[in-house]
């Protein structure tokens, strides 16, 4: 607490964190070097590509860990008593609302992912929104209804594919003779200039992130809500 008086003032543009030349470089040079107006995405997916890749791996690992901790197979449920709230008959109002909302939520999620490098958004945010649409389905009907769209096997496949897409962009630039995750070299296999190749690769990387986040978000929810049995949700 005694250190508080040494901290910089609120909103001071000359504070050490804001005047450091790396931050200044990110603000002033991002558009010239990567042709991406959203600096946050550019720093996230390009300059700090390693960080984000292993962040995706962290999410992937968390999903695997939760499945490993909670998942139960077979019918060894001793407390088979059904929750009293659970009714088989779907409610008309809830059903109709979700029928209208879920496609719009998913469309918005795709917009957030695809426009992550132009406007606020990106793979993580869009992935969470997309996962939330499945969670809404699971909450409004039951877990089985959502399982029909994203069965467990597909979840793991999607999560793995997401990480592989990200790593694939890194390996692609490695194969073309540049550093790992140095996207500029990818212009050789893309119809774009080197600078635009960085922008397009960022979009691809974000899509990979979105795959993983969507899958793992729903996996976390379904495992926690059904106590690992994947039979029926809340």
């Amino acid at each position: 607490m005694s250190a508080v008086s040494d901290f910089p003032d609120w909103g001071d543009p000359n504070s050490p964190a804001n005047s450091y030349r790396l931050s200044q470089h990110y603000v002033t040079e991002t558009i010239h070097e990567t042709s991406v107006p959203n600096m946050v995405t550019a720093v996230l997916a390009d300059y700090r590509g390693y960080d984000t890749m292993f962040e995706t791996v962290v999410i992937f690992t968390a999903g695997i860990a939760i499945i490993g901790i909670l998942r139960r197979f077979g019918n060894d449920d001793k407390d088979a008593a059904k929750p009293t709230l659970y009714t088989k008959k779907p409610d008309l109002i809830i059903d109709t609302t979700c029928r209208l909302m879920i496609p719009i939520i998913q469309l918005f999620a795709l917009y957030v992912i695809a426009h992550g490098h132009h406007s606020p958004g990106g793979g993580f945010q869009g992935g969470v929104i997309f996962g939330a649409s499945f969670i809404l389905l699971a909450v409004s009907r039951d877990l089985q209804a959502a399982q029909k769209w994203v069965p467990e096997k597909r979840i793991l496949n999607l999560a793995g594919i997401g990480v592989l897409i990200y790593a694939g962009f890194g390996l692609g630039s490695l194969l073309l003779g540049q550093n790992f995750l140095d996207y500029a070299i990818l212009h050789k296999i893309m119809p774009a200039t080197p600078i635009e190749a960085r922008s397009h690769s960022m979009l691809g990387v974000e899509i990979g992130v979105a795959f993983t986040v969507t899958a793992i978000m729903f996996s976390i929810y379904s495992n926690l809500a059904s106590n690992g049995s994947m039979k029926e949700g809340l």
């Binding site: 607490m1 609120w10 946050v40 962040e55 901790i69 406007s119 106590n227």
Partner: protein, 162 residues
């Protein structure tokens, strides 16, 4: 009065310290495992608040360039539209310099907030969600094994050999 000014000048840091201590207290002192996890979340929120408040600049916008700056040839249509949310679907392949994109554009560093803390906190939020999820899963497993999420009861059960 002096002490009031000393506090209000660095308001964000005091808030951050208070929230962080609330989280730390919950993590250490609470008996319920779920409450401990809530404390962990509060702690993480305090860190996120701290970092984002460091990146603030007075009079600066969010770290996304304006539509007008990126698409100068559309200036007539989108004049005065200073929205960073403007969808920009067309026309970003018309002017491609070989080594620098939009070489005539000059970006003032003081017009946009510092993007680096935002990126770091995006990472922190994601890691926070992952740890919270795994923590909840472990708690659920503990409840399945012991039938309780109170730390003292669980410790007693372990000591007494269940």
């Amino acid at each position: 009065m002096e002490i009031f000014e000393a506090i209000s000048a660095k308001f964000n840091f005091w808030i951050y310290i208070i929230i962080m201590m609330i989280g730390l207290y919950a993590m250490i002192a609470k008996n319920n495992l779920i409450k401990k996890l809530i404390g962990m979340s509060i702690f993480q929120t305090a860190i996120i608040l701290f970092y984002v408040s460091i990146g603030v600049k007075d009079g600066a916008s969010i770290p996304i360039l304006y539509h007008d700056q990126v698409h100068p040839e559309h200036h007539d249509e989108s004049h005065g539209d200073h929205s960073a949310h403007s969808p920009s679907t067309d026309g970003h392949d018309s002017h491609a310099a070989e080594d620098r994109y939009l070489p005539e554009l000059v970006v003032d560093g003081n017009d946009f907030a510092n993007p680096l803390p935002h990126v770091l906190m995006l990472t922190a939020i994601v890691v926070g969600v992952s740890t919270l999820g795994v923590g909840l899963a472990v708690t659920q497993k503990v409840y399945r094994e012991y039938g309780s999420i109170e730390e003292s009861e669980i410790l007693e059960m372990i000591k007494s050999g269940k």
